[in-house]
């Protein structure tokens, strides 16, 4: 087991494994997202209170869940990079942060649009929307800090420290914001509890969540591989790989 993890830490091995896994995750993401979208948009019954605006849940909740998971993944990669100095972990962190920020934005946007038919305004200082907004700022801080350093290694380590500080703070921020605004809806669904929604409503939601996760994994694997090609471009195996790779003629 340790030998396997150690191997995974070497860019060459990671590249080989990631490139082999990647098509599977892309396929899974495509299938799950297609099924979930059609089911959620066309076949799931309308909510008896919210009507069809309820269908925004199928993009809002997966994006929100993924946005939070991305920060945890980012912090985990940062920890691995700081403690064991595994470069691949930092490359993954560098590609996770922008995607996490994008997902946070999606969650904020869809939540805000959803607010119009449900609350009657575009923005309400709802606890979960507010902590999402703060999380977006945390993501932007991590991205900006990495970019501010001239040396890539310093930027990587500074961004890692900030990601760890952020992940310690996120629960504190979340609870203080919730306390600040106790008038919020309870969490729509958790994987452990049986949700109050009927199965034909939450099954597509579950499929969408899984689809989003597969998409995230596939994208992270692919972009980490590109990052490896960039940072390890002087290595012999990367050179040989480029000769064999298809395409890229211009």
């Amino acid at each position: 087991m340790w030998a396997f993890i150690h191997k995974l830490g070497s860019p060459k091995w990671f590249y080989a494994i990631a490139m082999r896994l990647q098509p599977w995750f892309w396929t899974a993401a495509l299938v799950l997202l297609a099924v979930g979208s059609v089911w959620g948009l066309a076949f799931a019954p309308a909510d008896y209170q919210q009507g069809n605006s309820f269908r925004i849940i199928y993009v809002h909740v997966p994006a929100a869940i993924l946005a939070q998971s991305c920060f945890i993944a980012l912090a985990a990669a940062a920890l691995v990079f700081l403690v064991w100095k595994i470069k691949v972990a930092d490359m993954a962190a560098a590609v996770i942060a922008p995607f996490g920020a994008a997902m946070t934005f999606v969650a904020l946007f869809s939540g805000s649009v959803w607010g119009v038919p449900t609350w009657g305004t575009w923005w309400i200082w709802d606890a979960r929307l507010t902590s999402m907004l703060i999380q977006l700022f945390l993501y932007l801080g991590v991205i900006a800090l990495r970019g501010a350093f001239l040396s890539r290694d310093s930027g990587a380590r500074a961004a890692s420290v900030l990601a760890l500080v952020g992940v310690v703070n996120i629960p504190i921020i979340k609870y203080s914001v919730e306390w600040w605004n106790t008038l919020h809806q309870p969490a729509t669904f958790t994987l452990t509890e049986r949700p109050a929604m009927p199965p034909e409503m939450w099954l597509p939601l579950l499929i969408m969540v899984l689809g989003f996760y597969c998409f995230f994994i596939a994208l992270t694997l692919m972009r980490t591989c590109s990052e490896i090609l960039k940072r390890e471009s002087a290595k012999r195996w990367v050179r040989e790989l480029a000769d064999e790779a298809p395409g890229g003629k211009r």
Binding site: F137, L140, L164, I173
Partner: protein
């Protein structure tokens, strides 16, 4: 007769750091006074921008005072390690045999003594100008004193991360302000609750808990960030 050994214990190092920083800061008095002036200035802007009606001001005074104090603390952060970085004494600090986390804690203590504490002492005066109800002054000072210690600790992480950058000012605010939000919520909440006739003790207790967590974790993060900024 016994020969007194040269002492280089942790306590001596911390005391020396505190003394040195205090001396340096008191020589550059403007750096101590500027955040206070900024605090007063920002508070002056609100009645001009919103309305001078005492009832309205009294209602929003806790939040205004807290936000202004928070921004004033934040402005003073960039100077926390900047001077030491420029003259090289920060590297000396890193090379010292004592644990860096303890030494930076001493520096943060001085920052709080010369920024957070004066802000807390000055706040009642500005509260008076915002017609803060009479019961709130003690809690205002206490919450600011407690909260600004957390602000100094959290802010020092950001200051340490950006000290190696030529222009870290705006970036520093971007990093630090989101992390300030829990302190702001409970600090302003404490003052609000007491002006509404409630009990502010739970809020102050949570502020204390936040400070305890910050005291435990922040020094290590500051030390790690300084190492990255200096050696990177």
């Amino acid at each position: 007769m016994r020969v007194v050994e040269p002492r280089a214990g942790l306590g001596v190092a911390i005391a020396a750091t505190v003394k040195r920083d205090l001396t340096l800061m008191l020589r550059r008095r403007s750096e101590v006074i500027n955040p206070l002036v900024f605090f007063a200035l920002v508070i002056t802007l609100f009645p001009l921008g919103i309305s001078p009606a005492p009832a309205l001001l009294a209602e929003i005074a806790p939040g205004l005072l807290w936000v202004a104090a928070l921004l004033a603390t934040q402005l003073s952060l960039d100077a926390l390690f900047r001077g030491d970085h420029d003259d090289g004494s920060l590297e000396q600090l890193l090379l010292a045999p004592q644990p860096l986390a303890a030494l930076v804690l001493a520096k943060v203590l001085v920052h709080w003594l010369l920024t957070g504490l004066p802000l807390a002492l000055m706040a009642p005066l500005l509260g008076l100008m915002l017609s803060l109800p009479s019961g709130g002054y003690g809690v205002l000072m206490l919450s600011l004193a407690l909260g600004s210690a957390s602000l100094s600790l959290i802010g020092a992480i950001g200051a340490a991360l950006t000290v190696g950058l030529a222009r870290g000012g705006v970036l520093l605010s971007l990093l630090v302000l989101p992390l300030y939000i829990p302190v702001l919520i409970f600090g302003a909440g404490a003052v609000q609750v007491i002006t509404l006739g409630g009990n502010a003790a739970p809020h102050l207790a949570i502020l204390g808990a936040l400070l305890a967590v910050a005291l435990m974790l922040a020094p290590w993060a500051i030390a790690a960030a300084l190492r990255i900024s200096i050696n990177g």
